[in-house]
């Protein structure tokens, strides 16, 4: 069996049973549940601090109506960040490299923000489609442009996450293969390539966290417009 560079992105299965569900459940097992003890241990304390701080920061620009989304957005952020970081371990599968998963997150959540806006404040939601102060001849053109940009949002959300993670993983594999192949032939070049690989891995750790944050932040911005 000849392995290609894209085999790491194939949805895993064992004896015909898809293992995607297992890959998605794994982050849930890694986080301890808050206990009824008065003082928690270090891990729980750090976890609680991070989640509270993140939720506070995310909900700052949103009004009281937007606070209903706190649980959904924070849990989505923790989920995405865990999936992305676990995918950086060797020989693991990253579910967020699958466009279907990311679109499954992006489209329903974006659509929910649009429908909430249309239902609760239709005038403001429709008014957003035409910037204030537009010259009269440009009005129809700008309405079309803003409508297109509205519909492009979920596609951009999903594809951004997919493309960033896929590109990163592919680069890591390419440079690791290059370092491995060059090691017996040109050891000095292989050492430089290995150094580049280390720096790229650090970059990918940052990208993994940032892309999860950007996904959730953009959703909160879309919600801010409509709630």
């Amino acid at each position: 069996m000849v392995l290609s560079f894209f085999d790491q992105f194939m949805s895993p299965s064992y004896l015909g049973i898809p293992l995607m569900a297992l890959a998605l459940i794994l982050p849930w097992t890694l986080y301890p549940k808050p206990t009824s003890q008065w003082i928690s241990n270090r891990v729980l304390t750090l976890q609680g601090w991070f989640i509270n701080r993140f939720t506070q920061q995310l909900m700052l620009p949103l009004g009281r109506k937007g606070h209903k989304w706190a649980l959904l957005l924070t849990s989505l952020m923790v989920f995405l960040i865990t999936l992305n970081m676990l995918g950086l371990l060797p020989y693991t599968f990253t579910p967020t490299t699958q466009l279907s998963l990311n679109m499954g997150f992006a489209v329903p959540l974006w659509l929910a923000t649009v429908l909430i806006g249309m239902r609760n404040q239709p005038t403001i939601a429709l008014g957003h489609l035409l910037p204030e102060g537009t010259p009269t001849p440009l009005i129809p053109v700008l309405i079309i442009i803003e409508t297109i940009s509205l519909f492009i949002r979920p596609i951009a959300l999903g594809v951004r996450l997919t493309a960033n993670l896929t590109a990163g993983h592919l680069l890591i594999q390419l440079i690791a293969t290059a370092a491995f192949v060059l090691a017996p032939l040109m050891p000095t070049v292989a050492l430089l390539t290995a150094t580049l690989l280390l720096l790229l891995t650090l970059l990918e750790v940052a990208v993994a966290m940032i892309q999860a944050y950007v996904f959730v932040l953009l959703l909160s911005l879309y919600l801010q417009e409509n709630v």
Binding site: L129, L130, P135, P140, Y222, E225
Partner: protein, 86 residues
């Protein structure tokens, strides 16, 4: 260090809103008051919220009407063709 002349929080989700705020604050281009808007401009303008909503609905209505006319015309063309072939 020069400070920004823009002094309000501008929503960054729309480029159009950014341009409008910059126009207002840097060049002093202000929206006309509601008294100055007369006739059709009172209902269809890009300054008031209701005006913008009406412009959006009118644009969508024009496109929907054009699409409906086009599909009805296509259906009418298909019907004479099928009746002439039988």
């Amino acid at each position: 260090m020069p400070t920004s002349p823009v002094n309000t929080r501008i929503p960054l989700t729309s480029f159009g809103h950014l341009i409008t705020e910059v126009k207002k604050q840097l060049f002093g281009i202000k929206a006309p008051t509601s008294v100055e808007l007369t006739g059709l401009r009172k209902y269809f303008n890009s300054y008031t919220l209701q005006g913008r909503r009406n412009c959006v609905l009118a644009t969508y209505g024009v496109f929907a009407a054009a699409a409906a006319a086009y599909f009805m015309r296509r259906q009418n063309k298909k019907e004479p063709q099928t009746s002439s072939s039988t």
